[in-house]
């Protein structure tokens, strides 16, 4: 605006000078006044330019300070992230330590003597269920579970009066079912009772009922039709039957008249 005023004043001065030159007329003190005004305006303009230069320098300094402020802000944010991470790690560690202390208190309350634990460990491992015997080799009949032979050698086995000779500690019926004994072809779908019937060991009529006191032997084959039901109406308690696969597809599998005593 100041530049515009100044340019207007100069135009007036130049026009006046040109007019005075052409007209050769005295103008009095008017051109002196305009010249004085011009000088004054020039001084003001110079002062304003000086202030503008100073403001420019201040502005540069402000930009430098703004950059510093941004850098400090990013440093503070970085520090904040690290503190947050440290707080999370410490919180996790404190929580785990508290849980461990709770477990220690709980263990102290239910403490057991070490002798008792060692005794129990001996009992568990005495039957070689945890680890094979040191002298065990492939072919050894011993197993970590009671074998069929061992089961039938017990009280129940003696009560059933079944033969004890077999292969690798297993009965010939099981060996038949597994297909390991020659002579009789055992199909996996044929239940053991039928095999026994064929080999002369099982009752011939499949619908023969149990009598009270009859021996009960659990023979669970690999067949999926082994059913364990409560025969309470017969008054003989809980026993296990095998379903004849030849008929169970057409009749109700749970019909006890179709079950074969084993």
């Amino acid at each position: 605006m100041l530049v515009g005023n100044r340019s207007q004043k100069r135009r007036e001065l130049i026009e006046m000078l040109a007019l005075s030159r052409s007209q050769k007329l005295p103008q009095g003190g008017e051109d002196t006044q305009i010249l004085e005004l011009l000088v004054q305006r020039d001084k003001e303009f110079q002062e304003l330019m000086r202030v503008a230069h100073e403001q420019g320098k201040v502005h540069q300094e402000m930009q430098v300070l703004e950059k510093e402020v941004e850098k400090r802000d990013s440093d503070i944010q970085q520090l904040q992230k690290q503190l947050k991470e440290a707080e999370h790690i410490l919180a996790t560690a404190v929580y785990q330590a508290k849980e461990k202390l709770k477990s220690i208190d709980k263990a102290k309350k239910g403490s057991i003597s070490s002798e008792e634990i060692i005794k129990y460990a001996h009992r568990i491992s005495a039957s070689n269920a945890v680890c094979a015997p040191l002298n065990w080799v492939p072919g050894d009949p011993r197993r970590p579970y009671p074998t069929d032979l061992e089961m039938r050698s017990g009280l129940l086995g003696h009560m059933s009066n079944l033969p004890t000779n077999g292969v690798n500690g297993h009965l010939p019926g099981d060996a038949l079912a597994a297909g390991r004994l020659p002579g009789i072809c055992a199909h996996p779908s044929v239940p053991l009772a039928i095999i026994r019937c064929l080999s002369g060991h099982a009752p011939s009529s499949p619908w023969q009922r149990l009598w009270a006191g009859a021996p009960r032997v659990c023979v669970c084959l690999c067949l999926p039709i082994c059913v364990c039901i409560s025969d309470s109406d017969l008054g003989i308690g809980h026993t296990q039957y095998l379903v004849d696969p030849a008929i169970h597809h057409t009749h109700n599998i749970y019909d006890k008249h179709q079950l074969i005593q084993v």
């Binding site: 130049i14 000086r50 300070l65």
Partner: protein
């Protein structure tokens, strides 16, 4: 500061239009043909001054406002420096070495 004053003086001389006005009046007194040329120079100088002023940074605010903002920024930098110094010099945990 001594070096700044001559520079400031030269800047003032650059800003002043009086020499150009004087040249125009002299040409008009002499009735020479260079009056038009001098007028063109004068006009160009005014245009350059306008462009120079338009490109100057920081003149959209008054000097007092600028000073106020400058002080605010300086305080901010000082405060943030103090905060950072305080957080970095917090007590560190001494992790015992596993023996």
């Amino acid at each position: 500061m001594a070096t700044n004053q001559p520079k400031q003086g030269s800047e003032n001389d650059d800003c002043s239009f009086l020499p150009l006005v004087h040249d125009v009046i002299k040409c008009m007194d002499k009735d020479s043909q260079d009056v038009h040329q001098e007028l063109v120079k004068f006009k160009t100088r005014i245009q350059e001054a306008r462009e120079q002023i338009g490109a100057m940074p920081g003149i959209d605010k008054s000097l007092s406002e600028q000073q106020h903002e400058l002080e605010t920024l300086r305080e901010q930098v000082h405060t943030k420096n103090q905060l950072l110094q305080k957080y970095k010099s917090l007590c560190m945990f001494e992790v015992p070495k596993a023996s």
